[in-house]
């Protein structure tokens, strides 16, 4: 009896394996490697939703080169080690033909090494650390800007608009956070300002009161934080609780309404500045797609539309080359302009966008953010 059951099971498994095989021929497999669990899952959710909607829309319009897009999920939890094993699984087990991801720069940098070696096209919708595209890896692209551009906007805003003389720089000791803080630091120096304090805090901790007291003693005009929304929320709350009224500025790592939750209320997030690409939800090219998201009860904030754009770029390249070879796709993307939900996009030799548009946003007293008038 036992043996009989085992045999049935193995036959079943075998046939399942077969059916998967026959499927592989007429689908375009695209891996999405993002943090779906862990403390930065809010961003993974944005990206996966974006990619999923794009795949659905493209499939509904007949697919790419006659093939339907099949998405394969990978959860890197924003941890470099896990990101590499997701990348290896995508390449060796799932045999993906292109990849969207990852999110945290510290995950994207090691994971893209795997894709580059396998000759697979990978587009990150949200990793802004300059190093991502500075390693001469021909099949690695990004659909967002770079921290050296973002840091410049933040530094210029602090000096020219906020008239800040004393600036404190805090970062979370991670690739992204420290990278962007360094970029702000360099740009501040160009404008003739040396920071009063440059220090790191530990991700995952809750109490930054010691650091806050130190900042309070310096009485700065502006505090810049390089890091993600969890620590940013706690830091701004503790600053305000200790009575520090300096302007608080951060990068695109806080572009999620979860920032307000992490701060413990709108009264703390209110007035916080952040740099991010010009609001793509307002572009005429994305109107129909944004409507679709909102109808499904999902606000396409942050990196949602960037992931949508990445998917459109992959689809356009596959359509244009009739191939899934990473090198061919890469050449095509670097030579052509893709019309996307975020407008026309073109890439340079490194795989960076030719045009980026960082602007300053501010959080209001309703827990939402809007562009600051220039």
């Amino acid at each position: 009896m036992q043996q009989h059951r085992l045999r049935t099971l193995s036959v079943l498994l075998f046939s399942l394996g077969l059916s998967q095989f026959s499927f592989a021929a007429d689908t375009l497999k695209i891996g999405v490697g993002v943090p779906l669990t862990g403390r930065n899952a809010a961003f993974g959710d944005q990206i996966f939703r974006g990619a999923q909607q794009a795949a659905e829309d493209i499939n509904a319009a007949g697919g790419v080169d006659g093939k339907k897009i099949e998405l394969i999920k990978g959860d890197d939890a924003c941890e470099p080690k896990q990101a590499v094993s997701v990348a290896q699984r995508f390449v060796e087990v799932d045999k993906v033909q292109a990849e969207i991801g990852h999110f945290c720069s510290s995950s994207t940098i090691p994971a893209t090494e795997v894709y580059a070696e396998a000759g697979i096209l990978a587009i990150t919708p949200g990793s802004t650390n300059p190093k991502v595209t500075e390693r001469n890896l021909p099949t690695i692209f990004r659909a967002c800007g770079r921290d050296d551009q973002q840091g410049k906007v933040a530094a210029e805003y602090m000096v020219n608009k906020l008239k800040a003389k004393k600036v404190v720089l805090v970062h979370d000791k991670d690739t992204y956070g420290q990278g962007i803080a360094d970029s702000v630091r360099t740009n501040l120096q160009k404008l003739g300002i040396t920071e009063s304090l440059y220090e790191g805090l530990t991700r995952g901790e809750k109490d930054f009161n010691a650091l806050v007291t130190k900042i309070k003693a310096l009485n700065p005009d502006a505090v810049y934080f390089g890091g993600l929304y969890n620590e940013a929320g706690l830091l701004v709350r503790q600053l305000r609780e200790q009575g520090v009224k300096a302007a608080f500025i951060a990068g695109d790592g806080i572009v999620s309404e979860d920032f307000v939750t992490a701060a413990g209320g709108k009264q703390f997030s209110q007035g916080v500045y952040m740099t991010f690409g010009a609001d793509s939800r307002k572009l005429p090219s994305g109107k129909a797609v944004v409507e679709k998201f909102r109808k499904a009860g999902f606000e396409p904030e942050g990196y949602t539309l960037y992931a949508y754009t990445a998917m459109q770029a992959i689809a356009a390249a596959v359509q244009g080359t009739k191939s899934t070879d990473g090198m061919k796709l890469s050449k095509w993307l670097k030579a052509n302009t893709v019309s996307t939900v975020m407008g026309d996009k073109a890439w340079d030799e490194k795989g960076d966008l030719k045009v980026t548009d960082y602007v300053m946003y501010q959080w209001d007293n309703n827990g939402k953010y809007a562009e600051v008038a220039p």
């Binding site: 403390r39 220090e199 809750k206 010691a210 650091l211 130190k214 979860d258």
Partner: protein, 305 residues
């Protein structure tokens, strides 16, 4: 560097240390009685943050406004729920392994902590959760520029931590249950022969430790405003360190260890550099343990013959 800043850093450190201490108590009690490290303890603390938030939401929905009533009721419900968790965990994961080699319950503790974490993610999601501030106000000493401040919630943390320590010490030193606890700690076999139901004693220790974690969970959530399923990890490491520093097995030691750890972290971050505050705190621990392996108030291990 003014005296005010130094004093403010001391306040920061003592409050942080009191929180470490409240959780360290759970580690130290279980270790004292069973000689095992209950790795699941920090996850009970994590669960209590979720439980408190749910209870708070329900109470506010019922129209209860007074902060004091809210806190007391929430504390009561959260403590009894985590106490139940503690009891069940001991029953399921540790009691069947009572006579197994020492490593077995350690591994099952790690297993339980993973289960609890995944349980929180599956039922509550991975996103950060927050609660609104309902105790506001700070007391400032000094003028507008140079001052030391302590918020009402920080005062509450200190009061509750102090009360809990006094109550626990009283229970252990002056009640029949406390006597049974101490007897079980000294020699479980002998205590059993003398008619003490050691299984019951151990269960109760888990219940008390878990209830203390609930106290910490509520206070931390109110103080920092937000939490997620991962808060147990860092807090667990720190609280365990506090317990070892104070002398594992000693209640007062756990609180003392917590405060020493909190103050040294805070002073180092404030006066030197916050990048290396953990490096400093743990170096301190290592050096301290080289010279005093049993911790501040711990008794040197006596080999049982």
């Amino acid at each position: 560097m003014t005296a005010y800043i130094l004093a403010q850093q001391l306040v920061n450190g003592v409050v942080l240390g009191a929180i470490y201490g409240l959780i360290a108590v759970g580690y130290t009690m279980v270790y004292g009685i069973m000689g095992m490290i209950n790795f699941a303890h920090s996850e009970i603390y994590m669960l209590s943050a979720y439980l408190s938030t749910i209870v708070l939401a329900v109470l506010v929905y019922w129209g209860i406004q007074s902060p004091l009533v809210l806190i007391l009721l929430t504390l009561g419900v959260a403590m009894s729920m985590t106490a139940l968790y503690g009891w069940v965990i001991e029953r399921l994961a540790y009691r069947p392994l009572r006579d197994a080699p020492r490593l077995a319950p350690l591994i099952s503790a790690i297993g339980i902590s993973l289960i609890l974490q995944s349980y929180a993610v599956l039922t509550q999601g991975a996103k950060t959760k927050g609660i609104p501030t309902f105790i506001e106000g700070v007391t400032r000493f000094g003028d507008a520029v140079n001052n030391v401040q302590i918020s009402n919630i920080q005062v509450l943390i200190l009061i509750i931590a102090l009360c809990s320590m006094v109550a626990l010490n009283f229970i252990i030193q002056h009640t029949a249950f406390g006597q049974a606890c101490r007897a079980t700690q000294q020699d479980r076999g002998m205590a059993e022969i003398l008619g003490i139901n050691t299984d019951k004693v151990i269960s109760l220790v888990f219940v008390i430790g878990s209830a203390m974690a609930a106290v910490a969970g509520l206070l931390v959530t109110m103080n920092y405003g937000s939490f997620d399923f991962n808060i147990g990890f860092v807090m667990g490491v720190k609280a365990f360190t506090a317990a070892v520093l104070g002398g594992i097995g000693s209640l007062t030691g756990a609180m003392l260890g917590g405060i020493i750890l909190g103050v040294s972290e805070s002073l180092f971050a404030g006066l030197v550099n916050s990048d290396y505050k953990d490096v400093f705190a743990f170096s301190l621990l290592v050096i301290f343990l080289i010279f005093r392996p049993s911790g501040l108030l711990g008794k040197p291990e006596v080999e049982k013959v």
